[in-house]
Symmetry: D2
Subunit: 89 residues, 4 copies
């Protein structure tokens, strides 16, 4: 995984989320809080996509070019699973 | 693509959607219409996941085991793209 | 419900979905099919939002300005429910 | 807003997110990280729904029962907007 970029983005999201917590503590307007939560989720979606891209270009290529059929199937199954879950969150 | 199963499901979704149209024509309760639209979307998500699974187990394996690096990159890029889009619809 | 606009949009979506079915029958490229399904879902989301908007400006106002507390609670509960479901499809 | 419950949940999500950051620092398996990010998003969706529910049962009722038509329209417009955005994140 390209750790540095992913880490940097996740820490930005953490700061964003802490800002949301502060908004709630300060009794901010509900709709503004919901909008910021949605912005946090959009940022998390972006991080997930980047991690998946790295994963496809490393582990998945290795598994598919390798000799272990079980491993190949496992790796591809996981991608379908996270795709399916992504339509639900 | 495992056409038969995909086709059958998509035709079921089409019937479901036609039912939604009838509901609107008959002036059904708004919230019931929204719920049925959400059910149609959940069914479409399921179809997308199935198509992706077939795609991974055919085209993607072929591309990754093949010699064409450009093609390999293209195929993996597409998966990240549909994943990213799936978080947006 | 503003039936005409909603109906017109839903029939456009139906045509779009029929196009997706044709793509599968003609054995189109998997990723292109997934992208079109995602476009159908985005269009359905738009229709849901429009129906909700009409609903808020009619039934919800009536219920909240009315004397029936139970009805008021029911109507507001439904909105939370479709919102929560919208994050899952 | 029912601050206490919302705050508690958001702080739990913050802890969860910090766990995800640790996973990336420790070079955890990509798919496991994506799954945890999706769990964080599901938790955030739940918080948004709860905030919306409180909002409907307070500000929205007040606005709709009040005399200010502009305010009423504003409040209802916002709900459609967060609903529409919720289908995109």
């Amino acid at each position: 995984m390209e750790n540095d970029n992913t880490l940097r983005r996740l820490k930005t999201v953490e700061g964003h989320l802490r800002g949301v917590i502060r908004m709630v503590e300060e009794d901010s307007y509900c709709i503004d809080v919901i909008r910021q939560i949605q912005a946090v989720e959009a940022a998390l979606n972006k991080v997930s996509s980047m991690i998946l891209e790295d994963h496809l270009n490393s582990c998945v290529i290795t598994a598919i070019q390798g000799d272990d059929q079980k491993e190949r199937e496992r790796v591809l199954k996981e991608i379908t699973e996270v795709f399916e879950m992504s339509t639900k969150v």
